[in-house]
Symmetry: C2
Subunit: 258 residues, 2 copies
Amino acid sequence: MTYCCGILVRDGLVMIADTRTNAGLDNVSTFRKLHIFEAPGERIMAIASAGNLAISQSVLSTLTEGMEDPHTGEVETLLNAPTMFQAAQRIGRAIRAVHATEGDALRAEDISFDVSFLFGGQIKGSRMRLFMVYTAGNFIECTADTPYLQIGEHKYGKPVLDRAMHYDVELYEALKAGLISMDSTMRSNLGVGLPIDVLVVRTDACEADLNHRIEAGEPYFHDLRSRWSAALRAAHQNIPRPPYKNEIEAKAKKEETR
Amino acid sequence: MTYCCGILVRDGLVMIADTRTNAGLDNVSTFRKLHIFEAPGERIMAIASAGNLAISQSVLSTLTEGMEDPHTGEVETLLNAPTMFQAAQRIGRAIRAVHATEGDALRAEDISFDVSFLFGGQIKGSRMRLFMVYTAGNFIECTADTPYLQIGEHKYGKPVLDRAMHYDVELYEALKAGLISMDSTMRSNLGVGLPIDVLVVRTDACEADLNHRIEAGEPYFHDLRSRWSAALRAAHQNIPRPPYKNEIEAKAKKEETR
């Protein structure tokens, strides 16, 4: 399993990915799922992946080697894509290329061709963008109305984002919310686990503001987890008890007054 | 979609079910999913259902009409089951009876035979028990280690229960946690909605302490929702910002000191 989320606010972009992969519960490993393509000051792009690891790695390798455009002969990569939109299209094309090569054989083994990506970043002179690319290579783009996208095990961490996130949240506050969302997911799904890779990019910087791996036992993340737990417990305790009438008492009273 | 949860604590049992059913997003209705079978002072049992409504209703009708035991000729219902365990087995038998009648025809229409139940209650002289019955009619029982069970859209509301719930939580505190869990689910999945049916049974009472329907706009539940939202926002704000080093600043400093 996997959990990755991308958050796009006015100040910039946050991308967070766990590193746990598993082929069954008895075969758990650590693999990087957040990949950064950077020409500092000129462009920065990042891909986070979920789904079948063999497929997502092949897609990434295809993108890194580049795909030849049959008309122009140009070898197309992410780093030479003219726009973020065209870069997202190239990811779609790479997925379909892997599907063309491996799809039939996977189907014969009853393995579903399951892969998805978050793709975010900025090319100098254009705006910062964030996309979610599906298995068929089609994609949607994140907008200010719901300034985040998720792939993988998205449900446990969604309520927190729905409540905390809007387009004007400060960039490192957005990172904080993303880490809380990751914490909620890790608590409920063993298939999502530390270390966590984090990328923060400030709008118009075109280079990483933060490119960090949170390892198990790191004090800040440990503190965030305990504070969030304590706050949830306190929030629960501070809500008044349900005032609904006890039916047995109500019945007894009714009988008394007869 | 549906969300139901059952909570079994030392003090008693809480069962909560939403009432929204949908056949596609364009066909949404309200149906009761929490059904109570009661002989006050002698036994109380409750069933909450998720999955295909036609199947769950047929299972309930089968249980209410009773199934004849081929050996003894006795007509078996929930209300004459000798134990909670045997009552849970009868639910399983009813599911398999409906499957025998309708399974092939559903399969021919490509409709999956999908149904699950929470079944809780107490028979005088025995302990309070809570079960989750699966599509095949097999079931698991709730224990003190994880004192709750969920069916339907369970993920959004699980983190709250994981943090708030343990076996010694007071009964109406458990109801409160269940309502917060329901709120989290309703916010993220439109297929789960008001009104909400609630049952609270105190250990050894063998009758409902509370059998209540929470309608839209009810002040307590409305207040619980806003307090929980506000508390989550505050909790998020009160966690310190991530201290991770800004890479651009770090680079600049490094260059300065050269």
